[in-house]
């Protein structure tokens, strides 16, 4: 399968998730809210959008980890002579690991999105438990920290004069997840949390 086509498997759910966590998501889910009652509430819709986003973020991060392993073997996955060449970015040994522990960025992304998924999924299952506030705040904090990581990775891309489409999808997922967690934190602090 073409690598850009494969990217759509991650990009589309990420964008759907992002739309659902935004206030305009209400109009998107209206046709489904009778059948899927959890989508009828603002809280349920944001939870669902956030779960979709975290799954897509984890999946695309696993894919980048897989690409970096393949490139290290000497293979190609998405190399191109254009500015969009994820092989050149993910395969660059100078930039494809974090500068402190030397862990691959794809692995860090996969682990982070799985943690975010745990935080949001557990909260959605028991939204009135006393630990939910902590989970949501941790999620918001983690995704906010992600902005600094994204800034560093974008800086690397500028250095290389290449853009990694798969990494950008993971960055979008982080932005969407931040919006989702932020909105849930605010909702959790207000009466809107238990509105039916």
């Amino acid at each position: 399968m073409d690598s850009n086509l494969q990217l759509m498997l991650y990009l589309i759910p990420t964008i759907v998730g992002m739309l659902l966590v935004l206030p305009l998501g209400r109009s998107i889910v209206t046709p489904f809210s009778e059948r899927y009652t959890s989508l009828a509430t603002e809280r349920g819709r944001v939870f669902f959008g956030l779960i979709v986003t975290c799954i897509a973020g984890a999946a695309v991060s696993f894919q980048t980890l897989w690409i970096s392993s393949k490139v290290s073997e000497g293979g190609n996955f998405c190399s191109s002579n254009t500015v969009f060449s994820c092989d050149d970015v993910i395969g660059n040994a100078e930039y494809n690991v974090d500068p402190i522990l030397g862990l691959p960025w794809g692995g860090i992304g996969a682990a982070t999105f799985c943690i975010l998924l745990y935080l949001v999924y557990s909260s959605s299952k028991e939204p009135n438990a006393d630990w939910v506030t902590l989970h949501l705040k941790l999620g918001a904090l983690a995704t906010f920290t992600g902005f600094f990581v994204i800034a560093l990775l974008v800086y690397y891309e500028i250095q290389m004069e290449k853009i990694c489409q798969y990494c950008t999808t993971a960055h979008i997922a982080n932005v969407a997840a931040f919006i989702g967690f932020f909105r849930l934190v605010r909702m959790n602090d207000s009466n809107a949390w238990n509105e039916s």
Binding site: A93, Y118, Y121
Partner: protein, 228 residues
């Protein structure tokens, strides 16, 4: 009646188990479908990038080590081209002495008319300017050293660069006067040698084989027609 509702159930444990299962499935798929090779300068690792301008006898051009690699190369394949890389400094006395060995090696293993029946070896030199008194270098000094130009006005370790032992070299000399490549390759001293397989994997390094010469390494590791 069987009592199935679990009062002690906690959404956190259920969620944790499910998410962990997802994570490990992802890791297992990657482990099963790939066999990553670390990038580094030890034997068995993938050679890092080597960048800069190189001199080929007619001018300075952009160098790209990756252009030498053939990812489809298989062990024993005699058609693949190996790379012998030397990190050197034109003012390092031992590098000057070993220039003669490099001339001989390049003539014997990098030349199809030499009678060598093994895989072709491409020779490269990455020229540093070590932070030592008297080790001031320049591109014109690199050119004088490589081409063995007599009376060029360039001194290599206090002697005329054209008076170095060995014949003129015809392989690329890479400008690493800013020491970027040397730092990236974690080279501690000059001369240092690496023999790299056609797929970009380091087969031998002088740092890991003290006492063994580059020539011995080539004769031992590079596949030959007569041996097959």
């Amino acid at each position: 009646m069987k009592y199935t509702y679990d009062d002690e159930a906690d959404a956190r444990t259920t969620a944790l188990i499910r998410v962990m299962a997802l994570f490990f499935v992802g890791i297992m798929i990657i482990a099963a479908t790939t066999s990553p090779i670390a990038t580094g300068t030890k034997e068995g690792e993938r050679a890092p990038a080597l960048e800069g301008k190189y001199y080929n006898g007619s001018g300075w051009f952009d160098f790209n080590l990756e252009s030498y690699w053939d990812p489809l190369w298989e062990e024993g394949d005699i058609t693949g081209q190996w790379v012998a890389l030397e990190f050197m400094d034109t003012d390092c006395p031992y590098c000057i002495q070993s220039a003669e060995d490099m001339s001989a090696n390049a003539n014997d293993f990098g030349n199809q008319d030499s009678g060598w029946d093994g895989a072709m070896v491409n020779f490269l030199a990455s020229v540093a300017e070590l932070n030592i008194d008297g080790h001031d270098s320049s591109r014109s000094e690199i050119t004088a050293f490589r081409n063995k130009i007599a009376d060029s006005g360039e001194d290599c370790a206090s002697i005329d660069c054209g008076a170095r032992p060995g014949s003129a070299h015809n392989f690329p000399y890479i400008d690493d006067l800013d020491l970027d490549n040397m730092k990236k390759w974690k080279v501690s001293g000059t001369p240092s040698y690496y023999l790299i397989q056609p797929d970009g994997i380091i087969a031998w390094s002088s740092a890991e084989n003290q006492g063994e010469s580059l020539r011995d390494a080539i004769l031992t590791l590079v596949p030959r027609e007569s041996a097959s």
